[in-house]
Amino acid sequence: MQPIHLAGIDYTILLAYVAFVIGIGWTLARYMKTSSDFLTSARSIPTWVTGLAFISANLGALELVGMGASGAKYGISTAHFYWVGAIPAMVFLGVFMMPFYYGSKARSVPEYLKMRFDERVRGLNAFAFAVMTIFASGISMNALAKLLNSLLGWDYNFGLFVCSGVVLLYVLKGGLTSAIYTEVLQFFMIVLGFAPVVWLGLKDVGGWHAMTTTLQSVAVNPSTIYIKDAGISYAPNAWTSAWTPVLAGPAHNPLGVDWFAMIFGLGFVLSFGYWCTNFLVVQRAMAAKNMTAARNTPLVAAVPKMFFPFLVIVPGMIAAALTTLPDKGYRIPPPIISQANYDKAIADVKSVNAADAVKTIGDDLGKKVDSGKILSLVAANAASKLSDDQIKQGLYNSVAENDYDGVILSLVKKYCPPGLLGLALTALLASFMSGMAGNVTAFNTVFTYDIYQAYFVKGRSDHHYFITGKVITVVGILLSIGAAYFASMYNNCLDIIQLVFGFVNAPIFATMLLGMFWKRTTGTGAFFGLLGGILSSTLFHAMTIAQGNAPGIKGGYLEVDKIFPSEMAQNFWLAAFAFIVCFTLTVVLSLATKSQKTDADLKGLVYSLTPKIVDNNVPVYQKPAVVGIVLLIVCVILNAIFW
């Protein structure tokens, strides 16, 4: 992709956003007096703000780049992450789990675990979570720096440090409140920045109906646009129906999963594990001003979340459809190839003989190439001398690999004139930066309260922990930068994030579920169950692999006992496996050990020992149970429409 040049108006919009974000941090700085103000927002924020922040915190690289990528790669089935995954989990969190998180007055999820079980469970969870937030933040910043590099020609390191610097500025000033407020700003920025791109994309491809018709030819022969290897074919509705291809079995849908892995692995384990126990999002609800507001936070969030597939997945589907329409002059971008490699390939196009052309030029580019396209390019150049730019364009179109993470920006670049371009880019930038801010604010709370205060320096003044929180913010950002370099090794960040969630989150949901709803669960059972869950998921990863991957970082480094049709399937099964191991181990060990906690200790922490919340004086449209049921009904309807 050629770097583009931003006009004055684009930079003005970008700078306006950065100025407002930093301004919010500065305005809030004077309210930051205690560690609780800085790290937990002192439980003071209105519901609609925490609700929007709740989804926004998760709206980083994962959502925009990853979902767009998966939309192209897998089609509408990607929406299962929302309609099977997120929405039911968010309703469950709001209706059933939030009363314990909020009611226990814990400042973090690990702290709840300490109250419910013991110090060991908290330590394990706090440590695992701290590592995970750093990775998530690093992945998000890596995607951002890559984007700035490929799109604006900024140096990777420069982009990484400048954006981290902006995040550091506003988080350090305004703490969690600053992160939550900017997340709301970013929510509107993303919706309003991307809606026009989706609109123009749909218009270009000929509308919704034309898009689905075009995607039928993609489904029947996905190798024409290099989505799958030659010879693989699906039913025509594989990209446009969410359920029929999945129900037909793993060989019949591009995700390579069956209904059990989808519903149990993704829907139950991964999504509930993420939305119900991940402190990054739960922290937003815990900052709400009262119990009803806290319970309604994930429910408010579920409303826009339900319709996000149209904003984030549909662009990927548009990209796949456009690629098959030759007159649109578009393809899903290939992996980034350096100009030096292009130059070498251009020289060879001019000099090579047809017999060696494919191999030589493929080696020059360092990628798989489409032999038919290379041969016709060489022939076209022999017939009438092409310009270097024409040859480069031809080479670009001949690369038989896709860089799915580039889908969203390639559409932005295709449709946005100066002005709108600035808006869309700012939206992208905003999502990545707030992805980092969200993780860093969760990291500093857990590190300060659950690691530093719990194990290293106990019983100091609040001011001491306030300052510690600020120092840890800086450390967290530096670690994220390190993680960003690590993440730059991967292609589709969504698969990687899911993998990390699988290791850490799948077992924790079993622990949390048993802890909240079975009072017999003991600390020892929870601790070893959790440990066993994490170890088993790591082991599972070490002994299985997805088709097409070499043993190594993608799994199978001990031995290969099972080959899954896709990384996605491997991840879903891994999560399901870890959950079952953790659940079983926790139950068995709990029955074998004696609980250290009395019923009185567990009041407010366990379902059966907590008085039911009676919300009689709450209007009916604010009752979590009522709202939850309505949301689930709408969710079922959406599933049915795209069956």
Binding site: I13, A16, Y31, S44, Y181, L192, P196, P418, G419, L420
Partner: protein, 69 residues
Amino acid sequence: MGLDIRWPIGLMFTLIGALLAISGAVTKSDHAISLGVNINLVWGLVLLVFGVLMLLGAIMGNSGPPAGK
């Protein structure tokens, strides 16, 4: 927490919306890239309306308790 978030949201989108709309209105172009739609003007106006609504919300919200509503 002291700051009503509707103020920065409203101000920012009013500003950016106005900027986009004006730029769309004064730029002479066939809008080939955006499929013949003067997207800057159209979308600038959308943002402007959104920004102003947010500002109105902030102003109403600050005028005391929502009496009679």
